[in-house]
């Protein structure tokens, strides 16, 4: 099963932090898109728009950052979007009924984390492949959410709560601060903790990881729970930005989040990738949509253009990675 020709194409997984070249080329791709947009649209380079892009990217990033860990273990979580929807609806209800944003936030994170834990349980204890387990979970969550919401929306939250998603601090949107914080936490966790290292090892070869004395099941449970909790966090941001919750909000979130992880260079086969790459992936996706809105390009073209950008980004990345060996 070894494929030496394939292997020799890949760079050695470094012992130090992940190869800087890889991150560099990704940044370059993002910057190229920025440059193109700056030429095409006057308003692109305004501070307002840049903050705007960062804020929009943050929502995708929150979901995608937890997902990155899952993908690092060679798993996938297709239920993140549905998880965001259910968590938002539950958190929204709690805020409405208790009037306490704190309780609502706790509910959202707990709900998200619980769903993640259940995913982890199915993957570890029941040994269902993650792709399928979370696909099943996606339907179960949708069913529960539809039943719970019964076609209603929950809307109108306290102004203080709304600040989380739409407020500013020192001229920067609050989600941007959160984005930076979680980018740092995610990167440190993955690169600078033994748990992070173990996660890479599990993704690279789960059998060998188990026989190396890594508690594989516990780490996988952790990873799925973290991914779920990050979906819970995203649901809070979502709730406070949109000031409302409804059953179908998650539908359009999952594929962009997965795309962000993959454009960011994390391999679906596990063991390779970074949280920072995922951030760039989210940024690239957001830039494309932002550009199309700024240039008033018909929405019919959006999926096509996004698809082409994904190909180009991944292809460029592969091309530029080869010589770094």
């Amino acid at each position: 099963m070894t494929d030496i020709t394939k292997e020799s194409v890949l760079p050695p997984r470094s012992l130090l932090s992940q190869s800087t070249a890889q991150v560099f080329y990704r940044l370059l791709a993002a910057l190229l898109i920025c440059a193109a947009l700056a030429v095409l649209s006057d308003s692109f380079l305004s501070l307002g728009n840049i903050l705007n892009v960062l804020r929009q990217a943050s929502l995708t990033f929150f979901i995608a950052s937890g997902l990155t860990l899952v993908v690092l273990t060679a798993g996938l979580d297709l239920s993140v979007g549905a998880n965001v929807a259910l968590s938002a609806c539950l958190a929204g209800t709690v805020i409405h009924q208790t009037g306490s944003p704190t309780l609502g936030i706790v509910t959202g994170l707990l709900a998200g984390g619980t769903v993640g834990f259940l995913n982890g349980f199915m993957v570890t204890a029941l040994r269902i492949p993650s792709f399928i387990a979370t696909y099943g979970m996606l339907w179960v969550l949708n069913g529960v959410t539809y039943w719970y919401m019964a076609g209603e929306t929950i809307h109108g939250f306290p102004a203080g709560f709304r600040q989380i998603g739409s407020g500013y601090f020192l001229g920067l949107p609050i989600p941007v601060y959160l984005l930076l914080v979680f980018l740092a936490i995610g990167t440190l966790f993955a690169q600078r903790t033994t748990w992070g290292q173990e996660i890479y090892a599990i993704g690279a070869n789960p059998v060998a990881a188990r026989l190396s004395g890594i508690p594989v099941a516990r780490r996988l449970l952790l990873v799925y729970t973290v991914s779920g909790t990050m979906a819970g966090l995203a649901s809070i941001i979502f709730l406070s930005r949109l000031n409302s919750a409804e059953a179908d909000i998650g539908e359009s979130l999952t594929l962009p989040a997965i795309a962000a992880v993959l454009i960011g260079g994390t391999s679906l086969f596990g063991g390779v990738g970074t949280v920072f790459g995922t951030f760039i992936g989210a940024l690239i996706l957001t830039l494309v949509l932002n550009g199309m809105n700024l240039l008033s390009i018909s929405a019919n073209w959006q999926p096509l253009v996004t698809g082409i950008i994904v190909i180009i980004a991944v292809w460029l990345d592969m091309k530029t990675r080869r010589p770094t060996q």
Binding site: M1, E7, P12, L15, T193
Partner: protein
Amino acid sequence: MSAAPPTAASSPAPLLELRGISKTFPGVKALDDVSFAIYPGEVHMLLGENGAGKSSLMKILCGATSADAGEFYFKGDKVAIASTADAQKLGIAVIFQEFSLVPFLDIAQNIYLGREPKGSFPGTIDRRRILADAKRVLDSIGFDIDPSVIVDTLGVAQQQMVEIAKAISQNARILVMDEPTAALSDREAELLFALIGRLKADGVAIVYISHRMAEVFALGDRITVLRDGRRIDDLRPADVTPDQLVRMMVGRNIDMTYPRHFAEAPGELLLQVKGLSSTTGISDINIEVRRGEIVGLCGLVGSGRTEVARAIFGADPVAEGEIVFDGRPISGEPDIAARRGIALIPESRKSEGLALLRSVGDNLVVSALKKLFPSGLYDPRGAQRTADGLIRQLRIATPTARQTVGLLSGGNQQKVVIGKWLAAGAKLFIFDEPTRGIDVGAKSEIFALIDRLVAEGAAALMISSEQIEICHVCDRAYVMRDGRIAGHLSRSELTEENIVRLGMHDE
């Protein structure tokens, strides 16, 4: 060995000649101006340390890898071997060190992959013929199995036999075998040797790579020694002694008797296995290991040694019985065993021992993360230091600790698997075929290392199919048969004959 081996003088036209082959991988000069000639009807042994470039040379010979420089001559004519198809046309077949089998096809389909007999409709396969042909080939190598069995259900040894059948079926004029006996038991190895004798008589040229000295002298008509990618010499077995050969391979003297510092009195009890049975087919296993001891676990392939090792380590569920380690009972997953101080060096390094796409360094520290970084904060530089230390200690041939471990030679990969448990500081080392595919120099280094570990108060349980190794290094040994302990041999009783007698099926 009855036919007189042809020499360069007596048959001036070699079947195939390689001249000036060089090959560089990033950071490694794998082959440097190597020339190599193969004559019909001879067994040509290729020797060298791990990483000397043997497999690389063979991959070039069969067109799987391209050389940077060099020429090929077939029966005196210059030819190009740019692909495996070219090589096949010249009648070159290979038994690879790494299996080239497809798990979910049956044996017959694997043997004839790419050469399927055509069925009546275009594109279809003549099922009856492929089975009949495969059966004939399997019979010819003395492997009695139904060719419609799915390969994935076979054990390592059986897969190796299929690999051999696949090469034989090509009616090759040149047959390359890269460590074919590494996964075989003595019985199967005997079958293979008999087969080699028959092929030789038919004029087939055989290139044979092995780390086992006994095989070199029993089979070889000629020997080529490689060191650091260069050809050192080309000679006949009659002209050298094993010691001389070893010196050529490693460039220094090696003591091949693996000296042990046997302890006068056994240490305290470390591992006690009582009436152990598992779902994988072993039953009523009773084993004791004391500190300072190396205890052998022998038996035929399939006798259940691996299963005992896995059950002790928690990799397979225990159905019955008790395992006491260091005074306290132990049960659960491998992470618990590892935390308590048990290490398992598994049988299959590629699938169970290593994360092939990660670096040598990452693989070396993976079991020791808890010990090296008790705070949970990982320090890449600390890890690097530990890895560098192990690379030096074990003499792992790698450009840096950052090299992808999958790119190392087979033997060096094995050293990485052993190395990771050294860093973890285990008390009991369970070795499952630790020297499979390891060169003589490394073998003695590893045994010296094990000796030192046990002298410092650790203990080892060692599984090996090479009984001579068990006899050399073990304080005593258990012999297994059909999933049970068939007997125990003390130091004085520990001979190859006794192991074989106890391990054989009832006759």
